[in-house]
Every structure is written in structure tokens, then in C-alpha cells.
């Protein structure tokens, strides 16, 4: 079957769409769209097929952009994306995650909160239950801000959803967003003195693995973790990786045991690849072991940083894996990470990458 393989690339200066076919050898670039807007996340609404982009502009604020026709035309809205006009109410600075699920759209914002739209993104409503959690007054930002950066709907139960907030941790709702519970047990917070806290963990990226309703994984500021009970407890699976720090994590679209991360020097170091040698690491046994994948990636003088949303997989076979750097280079692998090549160069700093395959 002929397919169009799209890479949706969010950058500091707007969105780009790279397009190839199933061979993934040549890529055409379109853009920038939402010109001048920093795009933290792009996705495709499964219900409508519209491309969604969570963005912010230094002068004009935050908004969700969308394109109904794979990038030909774009609109944006922030109507209702507000915590209100009361004095002291936080002002929304950016949209960090936007997804479609269960016939609605959801947006995670900075400062951390969740919004939903039931009219395809024309207007938005605050899912206030999340910020009503009693821990909210004590939420603290990470270096990137106090951000709700990941939204994961439960695959079969529309009332359930997980969100991840830096530097607060993972939350789950089981009642459609009315109430939320922390899901951080077993996750280290080495920067916090004392016993393991209920919240305050710095989750960097949260994923749900393919085909398993209750299996989650996360790349955290302090390690990599896997949960088999919807986040109620976490097991650390960092052993075998060169560092416990990193931002992105992606899972195989069909194999629940396979995932990829990009370890970086953490803590008070540079948050770049260790020893200036770029590498992606893959587990094929649910975190039991990890394999370094660096064929085709620079192994000297590579001061590479990859941010939390800037790695993606497509659904082709073999799976394509892609990541973008803060230096504006986009790498791709068409053999599940075994070898890599440059897909695009000299883009603005890359903040997000998403793959989307459509029938040609």
C-alpha cells in the first residue's frame, strides 16, 4: 500500500511538515507554519485527521493551532484558554501538549493545567479538577517551567486519563477529570530531601505502551521507570543506561517490550549527550536490558540536546524512529534505531517531533 509518511516538527520559530513515502529515503519540507510561534507539540486528532499544534508567541500569547488539510491551511484559537481574570490568577504562557481523544481535544498548558475542547478546538474549558488537587499550591516548576507536558487517555475507559507535570509528577483521573490522584510511588526525587514524597517528582516524559491498557513508562529527571498497574507503583529500569537523565521516550507501536530513550548528562551538568557522543538507547525486553544505537550518529564534538517531545516513531514496518535536536538537526532511522541518517538540517531549534502515516 502506498503511504504518505509525515513528520510534524515543532520548532522555536514555527511548525514544519516533512513528507516522504514508505521508503523514507527522500523528504520534502514545507513550512514554517504558525510562523514565529514556538511550537512545543504537534499531533493528529484521530477523529478529524486535523493536525494540532500547541504553541506560544512572544507577543501574542498561547494558542492551539490546527490544520484540517495536512498543513495547507491553518487556524488558531485560545478562546477559553484562561484561568480567569481575577487578580493573581496565573496567566497561561504556552501550550505544551495537545491531543485528540474520545471525541474531544485536550491541551496541557503552562503554568500547569488541563483544558478540553468539545467543539474541535474553537473554544476551550478548564478541567479544573486537576488544579483543585490539594497539592497544587505546592507545585514547583522545573527548568522548563511548571508545565503539563503529557496527556495520555486510557485506551478503553473514557473516564480515565493520565497527565504528567514537571516538576510535580504523574496524576490519574478515573472520573473524567473531576478528581485526580498522584501516581508517583517508587519514583525517586533525589533533589528533594527526606523520604519519597507523594508528589514533586520531575517526570520528563510519560508514555503508555502498545496493546497494554495499564502499562506505562516514563523518563524522569531521576531515572527510567515502568509501571504495570496504571502508575500506582513504578519499578526503576535505569540499569544499563549511561545516565539516569534524559527527556524523550517513545514506545514501539506494536511491541509492548520495546522503547527508546536518549540519555543525557543530568543533574548540574549540561543536559547533553554524554562525552559529546550521540546515541539512542533501546530496550526490547521492557527495560531489562538496554542497547546503545549510534551507527550514523556523530561520535565526537556532538553537543546534542534532545527535548522531551522531540522524538517519535512511525507505525511502518520496520518502525521509523526520529529525533530532533536543539541545534535544529533532525535524525531518522528506518530500521528501528540500528542506523541513523540526517533527515533535515539547519532547522530552528527543534522542540517536538511527531510521525503521522496516511494512505496515499
Amino acid at each position: 500500500m502506498m503511504v504518505r509518511n509525515l513528520l510534524l516538527v515543532g520548532t522555536k520559530k514555527g511548525a514544519f511538515i516533512l513528507e516522504s513515502d514508505g521508503a523514507r529515503e527522500r523528504w520534502d519540507i514545507r513550512g514554517p507554519f504558525a510562523e514565529g510561534w514556538g511550537v512545543h507539540d504537534m499531533s493528529v486528532d484521530p477523529a478529524s485527521g486535523a493536525i494540532l499544534a500547541g504553541a506560544a508567541n512572544p507577543w501574542f500569547g498561547a494558542a492551539v493551532w490546527q490544520s484540517p488539510d495536512l498543513g495547507q491551511t491553518w487556524t488558531h484559537s485560545s478562546e477559553g484558554l484562561t484561568y480567569g481574570d481575577d487578580e493573581g490568577a496565573p496567566r497561561i504562557k504556552a501550550i505544551w501538549n495537545v491531543i485528540g481523544a474520545n471525541g474531544a481535544l485536550f491541551a496541557g498548558v503552562q503554568p500547569a493545567g488541563l483544558f478540553r475542547s468539545d467543539d474541535a478546538g474553537v473554544t476551550w474549558q478548564h478541567v479544573s479538577g486537576l488544579r483543585d488537587h490539594p497539592s497544587c499550591p505546592e507545585w514547583q516548576p522545573g527548568a522548563g517551567g511548571l508545565i503539563c507536558h503529557t496527556i495520555i487517555p486510557h485506551p478503553t475507559d473514557a473516564g480515565r486519563m493520565w497527565v504528567a507535570i514537571s516538576a510535580v509528577g504523574t496524576f490519574e483521573t478515573r472520573d473524567g477529570g473531576e478528581t485526580w490522584e498522584t501516581r508517583n510511588k517508587g519514583v525517586r526525587a533525589d533533589f528533594s530531601p527526606g523520604p519519597e514524597p507523594e508528589f514533586g517528582q520531575c517526570v520528563h516524559k510519560l508514555i503508555r505502551v502498545a496493546g497494554e491498557d495499564e502499562v506505562l513508562m516514563q523518563q524522569n529527571h531521576c531515572g527510567v521507570y515502568r509501571s504495570t498497574n496504571g502508575g500506582r507503583t513504578w519499578d526503576e529500569i535505569t540499569d544499563g543506561l549511561p545516565t539516569d537523565f534524559g527527556f524523550p521516550m517513545v514506545g514501539h507501536p506494536r511491541d509492548a517490550s520495546t522503547a527508546w530513550v536518549i540519555p543525557l548528562d543530568g543533574g548540574d551538568k549540561l543536559h547533553m549527550v554524554p562525552e559529546a557522543k550521540a546515541a539512542v538507547w533501546r530496550t526490547s525486553d521492557a527495560g531489562g536490558t538496554w542497547t546503545r544505537l549510534d551507527t550514523g550518529l556523530p561520535q565526537e564534538q556532538a553537543y546534542v540536546q534532545v527535548l522531551r517531545e522531540a522524538m517519535a516513531v512511525d507505525r511502518l514496518d520496520p518502525v521509523g524512529v526520529y529525533f530532533g535536536t536543539s541545534g535544529g538537526r533532525l535524525y531518522g532511522s528506518v530500521d528501528e534505531g540500528a542506523s541513523w541518517s540526517v533527515v533535515a538540517d539547519d532547522l530552528p531549534p527543534i522542540w517536538s517531533v511527531e510521525a503521522h502515516v496516511v494512505d496515499a
Partner: protein, 87 residues
């Protein structure tokens, strides 16, 4: 009629918007409401919660720095100008 000059970067993202728009006078708050009526979505780009004029936008009336309460005469000229910021 009063005249409002909109920045290129704002016009570019609002369908139907033009750089030069004519409105009735009133306060800047009223002028922005009129603009939003003609160009849906403009208000959210110019105003933050509060409402207040967004931090990195400047509004001038007849060449003088203005706020939401500033009155625009029937022949006044309003400039909305992005601040020199960003990177």
C-alpha cells in the same frame, strides 16, 4: 472615524484582517472590542487575562503610550506595535 494600525505579524494570522482598520472612537478597551467584532480572535492576541494589554505589545494613541482606559477621539490614530523583544 478613528484609525487603527495593526502589525504585520498580527494581520498575518487573522483571516480577513488588514493593516489599517477604521473604528468608532472610545476607550482602547472599546476599540479592541470593536476590532474583535470585525476580526474574530484579535482580542485574545492583544489582551492577556485581566484583561491587560499583553506584556510585549505597546499601544499608542496619537503617538502617546496608551492603556485600556485611554480615550481615542473620533479622528484619533491608534498604533498596536510589538515590542522590540524575542530572540
Amino acid at each position: 472615524m478613528a484609525t487603527v494600525m495593526l502589525p504585520r505579524s498580527l494581520v498575518a494570522i487573522l483571516p480577513g484582517a488588514e493593516r489599517r482598520v477604521e473604528v468608532a472612537g472610545g476607550t482602547i478597551a472599546s476599540v479592541i472590542d470593536q476590532l474583535d467584532e470585525a476580526i474574530p480572535g484579535l482580542r485574545n492576541r492583544v489582551l492577556d487575562a485581566g484583561p491587560t494589554i499583553r506584556q510585549h505589545l505597546n499601544v499608542f494613541v496619537d503617538g502617546q503610550r496608551a492603556d485600556l482606559a485611554t480615550v481615542v477621539s473620533a479622528t484619533g490614530v491608534v498604533h498596536i506595535i510589538p515590542a522590540v523583544s524575542g530572540g
